[in-house]
Amino acid sequence: MSAPTPTSPPRIASNAAETIDARGRQAGELSLPPSLQQFADDAERLPTDELIVNMGPSHPAMHGTVRIVLRIDGESIKDADVQVGYLHRGFEKESESATYTQIFPYVDRLNYVSPMLNNVGFAMAVEKLLGITAQIPERAEYIRVIVGELARVADHLTCITASLAELGGLTAFFWGNRAREHIWDLLEDVSGARMTHSYCRIGGVAWDLTRDFDAKCKVKLAKVRGLVVDIRKLVDRNRIFLDRMEGVGAISADDAISYGFTGPCLRACGVAYDVRKDHPYSVYEHFDFDIPIADAGDNLARYLVRIEEIEQSMRIVEQALVQIPPGAVIVDDPLVALPAKREVYNSIEGMIAHFKHIMDGLRVPVGEAYSYTEGGNGELGFYIVADGSGRPYKNRCRPPCFYITAALRQLIVGANIADVVPIFGSLNMIGGECDR
């Protein structure tokens, strides 16, 4: 092979268009020293073997318990098999032998970063079957919206900052977690539990907001806002972040719909589908908020949609705190709501009602309903078949991220190994919800 003489210096051509060498290199590029050039030429002719590599189920950069088996050629992914189910714990099977009220702790553990939204979704499904949707006290609806939107903020913060940590942006991760702690402080004040709240009940919520919730919430939201601004300053124009996110993991709107994408991942493809706007439930039509959408359908679009939704959710909370009316927080129906403790201890009727509620559960008439709400990851549906007893005959949860994770294979085939982590992170697969 005709290598240039060792003494020839790198050439800088004056007219680039005329000087493309035999290897297709633009003139002006530094050519390798001949000893290395020899290696580079040999490497191009080397036969490569495909390799099968496991990622997960316990991989430091996978923030869910999922196993991806990759067939790789060098750095590029030729094929992949995404295996879920490591967190399967029989949610449906357990539900079938629990009373409707006993299911709330189970739904807490579906999407465990926004349990309040699961609580609301499940309660609404049972209320739809009972036919009492219109009788839920307005205060209870407002409380559900407030805690639900706070949970959405926590959910999006988790997704964004966990992905950032995996990309090396640990500072943003710490700031995001600090913001999330503010949200969880509020939810802990309301429910008594930091993460597994079990705060909703069929017909309303367990108890009223704390007396100083309003003031506390304003302080906390201001802090969260500040932290979100800080995070955006840190990453929005960060070259490394943009290079890893922009144009990576893109999916078209048609494919996304066909895969059953909902929520931020679908809105990142330019489809403005949001259950809160398209099928307003609870009191969502009373609020002025926007549905952010992006067009590219890639990692960056999903990040942008989520970070904007944080702001929109906080807007909803602020409006709800102003509008919230006084009154009861659970429907006044002894067949649906537990009697007050005062009555349980002091009257025989109250005690019997309490006993029947705990032992038999509230009776839901024969029928079936599919109820859907906007969860942290998209349309969170519950399909309940009731047989007239106090326990559901079937309680199916439509997990939004199960359908989103199903598209992971398509998104990573053809990408590099290093892209798996940001793509997977931006989809926000939550093991508890995906595997149930």
Binding site: V69, G260, T262, H279, K394, F402, Y403, T405, A406
Partner: protein, 182 residues
Amino acid sequence: MAARLLEFLTRERPAALVETGAHVGDEIAVVHREHLVEVLTLLRDHAETKMNMLSDLTVVDYLGQQPRFEVVYQLYSIPRKHRLRIKVRIGDDDGECWVPTATGLWHSANWSEREAWDLYGVRFEGHPDLRRILMYEEFVGHPLRKDYPQNGRQPLIRRPDAPATDDQTTRLLADSHDRRVS
């Protein structure tokens, strides 16, 4: 809105319907298995319906009744914003417990049909990759069937006659071809 969908189906495919009805505001159409794909395709493609999302697929086990299983499809149309529930009733005999796959119509049918197979043992004929998804490959039986005990325990011990998950995956990827639906 959705009541129009039932009228539409009754008008377009009267022979395919077993019954139609509504409960608490949800419209439901029960169709014959042999007409299932035809009905789903019509609903997906017709300009009046445009059900471009199969938002969920599940099975209900009515143990003791015949036919025993109900396969339930929750359809949604993003442009038209309407929903419809399609059901197919099938028996539990080995030759009966199947429905044709919908993977040719929606990508989302792929995993949801795998889940329905895994948990209920309903076969989806024509599915390109009908493996278990939530349970492990060595698991025996289908846990969400009503006759599977709630406290049933199966320690993860590899049976000599069952293919291990790893072998299967390796084989699958080794002769991998593009299994995506078009």
